[in-house]
């Protein structure tokens, strides 16, 4: 069975990418369309989600090497990073604080229970680090993963609209915003804009992860 679901996931992913390429509506983005089709399919086939996850787990495992791969754009554009270090640090520090506090306040507003509230706080950073932060502050890692995914999906939907409304012009600001707001999925989106957006989005993703990890540690030490 193992190969079947992995191959099926891959083909539905390719299919979704093709559909999204032809009709670029937010609801057709691969991270939304492919899972919906897969959920429908496993429901029809009477396969449980856990069985599916067990079979397709090595696809999730690839997130590890994929995170490591981001060292390549950082290395290639190291001189640019050094040149814009202040801009990157200030805007990403701002971004992480806005992410944590806006999530906290909105969660309070909808009376989210405390398990959910803690697990949702690190939602805007890349999965492996979000899981670490979640563990640190006493959240549930699996729940955090769900929120990270929803953030990715929503980031792909609202990101381009926000940049357009605010008429953000510089590729650097666009890239930083996408990577900060929606981690790897935002960076994937940034690729559609251009090279500089992609580079700054990868940078934002990594800085956001480390800075949030730092906030997590401070949180434990002082609260």
């Amino acid at each position: 069975m193992m190969i079947v679901f992995t191959i099926l996931t891959y083909f539905l992913y390719l299919f979704s990418k093709k559909v999204y390429g032809k009709i670029p509506f937010p609801i057709f983005q691969p991270l939304l369309l492919a899972p919906i089709l897969l959920i429908m399919l496993i429901t029809i086939m009477h396969v449980s989600a856990n069985q599916y996850l067990e079979d397709a787990k090595w696809l999730s495992h690839m997130l590890g090497p994929a995170t490591i791969a981001f060292a390549v754009p950082i290395y290639k554009h190291f001189s640019t990073i050094k040149k814009y270090m202040v801009t990157i640090l200030i805007s990403i520090t701002t971004g992480t604080l806005v992410a944590i506090f806006s999530t906290y306040l909105l969660s309070k507003l909808i009376h989210l229970n405390s398990d959910f509230l803690i697990s949702i706080l690190p939602r805007s950073i890349t999965t492996p680090i979000a899981i670490e932060v979640s563990k640190e502050i006493g959240g549930l890692p699996t729940l955090t993963t769900v929120f990270v995914i929803i953030t990715g999906v929503m980031g792909g939907v609202v990101g381009p609209a926000v940049l357009k409304w605010l008429s953000i012009k510089t590729p650097i600001a666009k890239g930083l915003a996408l990577g900060m707001g929606a981690h790897g999925v935002g960076t994937n989106k940034a690729m559609e804009y251009g090279k500089q957006e992609e580079v700054f989005s990868s940078i934002a993703m990594i800085f956001a992860a480390f800075i949030t990890l730092g906030w997590g540690t401070l949180f434990i030490l002082f609260i």
Partner: protein
């Protein structure tokens, strides 16, 4: 066909850094995931010219381009959280959408202000 072979080989090679990252995590008791240690080690290896960019470039490019594929199983796993979906699902999705808009907006505005100031200082 040759290109696929190169990609597979390089993705395997990137796993070396994942294992090194795991080893480092074992030694250093920091709350940093193995993949982040791996990222750091790969960067150092490239920077100190221990390995050549060509050894990893194709594989890394593929992994980053197909990143969404690796998120799909976790996205399917959301069905396991019926509680979220049935009770507060919509509220949470709206919360995340609004918060993400604020985060992206604030980050972009901050970055653009700093860049504008830099530019005006130079003139």
């Amino acid at each position: 066909m040759l290109k696929i072979g190169v990609i597979i080989l390089q993705v395997c090679f990137l796993h070396v850094f994942l294992f090194l990252g795991m080893a480092l995590k074992h030694i250093l008791p920091l709350p940093i995931p193995a993949s982040m240690f791996g990222l750091f080690l790969l960067f150092l290896a490239l920077y100190c010219k221990v390995i050549k960019l060509e050894w990893v470039e194709q594989g890394a490019k593929w992994l980053m381009a197909e990143l969404l594929l690796f998120f799909i199983p976790s996205a399917v796993g959301i069905v396991n959280y019926e509680q979220i979906i049935s009770i507060q699902g919509l509220e949470i999705v709206v919360l995340i959408a609004i918060s993400t808009m604020i985060v992206m907006g604030m980050t972009a505005i901050t970055a653009e202000r700093i860049l504008a100031r830099k530019r005006s200082e130079r003139h």
